[in-house]
Amino acid sequence: MRPADILRFARVAATGYPLRTALSVLAMSIGVAAVVVLTALGDGARRYVVGQFASLGTNLVIVLPGKTGTGGFNPATAITSTPRDLTIDDAAALLRAPAVKRLAPLAVGTSEISYGGKLREGLVAGSTAQFLEVRNFELAQGRFLPDEDWHRGSAVAVIGAKIREEIFGPNAAVGQLVRIGDRRVRIVGVLKSSGQGLGMNTDELVIVPVALAQAMFNSNTLFRILVEAKSREAIPAAKAEVLEILKTRHQGEEDVTVITQDAVLATFDKLLGALTLGVAGIAAISLAVAGILVMNVMLVAVTQRTAEIGLLKALGATGRTIRLAFLAEAAMLSTVGAGVGYLLGHLGAFGVRLAFPVFPAYPPHWAVVAGLTTALATGLLFGVMPARRAARLDPVQALMKH
């Protein structure tokens, strides 16, 4: 039998039982669509987090007070503070490190900001002029903090877009005097709206000189020191130098933790990559189920068409021809199912992107390729058994069944 004839025969056979065919195609397409959508979600989460980290700034080395037991990144240390002090002078000393390009000390706390009878709670970040470059902020209006002695702490502030909107509404903000806690501070600039930045929403941030912030919160501790290395390659050197300098300054005790953005990024990348893989594995189970369904459908087809198989044998069909015809039918069911599922999956991912524009829900290529090949492979694999059964039917017995 010619290949074209086998395909045509299988197609006519498949379309001859529309419900049965539609159901197995549906099962297969749901399996493939599940792989595509779930991996799109997993990979989207990974891309989202990685993107968020990248927006923190480039080549960042972050110094936090306290020492964690292991060298790895522990999410707890990013949240809790420790009693050991990290001071403005520590930060200033780090400027001597040759691999450090610039740095910004960071002290944070919450305070009330009030203007013209409006009161709002906000996150106050104390830093220096370099904070702008280190964090890749952009200004919408005015200018950033003045480049002054870090201990001086002029009474100025730069506010986020949302704070500006809520407190000043349509009126000009730059040049106005506001009250932050018990201090009167002049607004010198407004940040461009940038949305969420890993827990710290810059749109709701109030930035003041670091000395002012420490005075407000009555402490001389820093929350973080953000260090920018000279290049990506300089990150390990910067980390080592920073550790060395702080160790010297702290009487030889290594009581700070230095994490690099790369390490954090790599950890999240790995974590969420594994998540995507796991999700893909779960989805693959539905593919296996679909494969088993195709096998059942084909077994039913063999039983339904026993008389026909006997006839084909009487008409001179070899066992090989019959095997090929049934395999072709199984392959056709799973191919169409995989194709439909591929389209459905992309439609689903598109729907997710439409509903959550910030979420880059694109299925990774490896998942799409793996999903489609698994679908075809299971379809064929599970088609082999029914096809062999058909080919082995005894023609006399088969012909007697009507």
């Binding site: 009487a314 001179g316 070899t318 012909l399």
Partner: protein
Amino acid sequence: MPLIELRGIERVFQLGDSTVHALSRLDLAIDVGEYVAVMGPSGSGKSTLLNLLGLLDRPDAGAYRLEGRDVTTLSPEEQAEVRSRRIGFVFQSFHLVPRLSAAENIALPMTLAGVPAKERAGRVARALQDFALENRADHRPDQLSGGQRQRVAIARATIMNPALILADEPTGNLDRHTGDEVVRLLEALNGRGVTIVVVTHDPTLGARARRQLVMEDGRLQHDSGKPA
């Protein structure tokens, strides 16, 4: 040289504890161009004989030579090849593929044998004409009458120009008139040199054949062709 030569054929079935000799020590020779009717009561081994002649079944003992070639020792694939080229089947219940049109059903043996589509179309067109089915080419079996269905089946059996046509109760599901029509078609084929073996219960149909075989308990009871 005879077309069919059976020597010492045995076919035994195991039914529970008892063994049934469907065919026992059967010797038979049929020449090219003969028209043979096989008769006998149910269970006499007629159908087993027909399946055996059609290479759908294998004997437990004995030799079957078709056109001088021992076909009992062939592999299943080789036997399929012989069925495809040399033997045509006509069944009582027609055995048409329900989802294929009349033309496609007639073309089926050629499709299975890998005949190119172009050649198939030409031969099917001729067959449709020969069997007065031109207007029914695109009809599915359920849109055809019984007589038309059996004409399609006979057209299908002859499309590969076989040397032998095996018919199992070809008129069993037809009324007298259409049955006669089908018999005349088979006889016309025999007139063109095709050997016909018909299994039937119907004595009038059997009487029309030039040679009658009567079977009982797996043995030949009577052979009108054998000089007594």
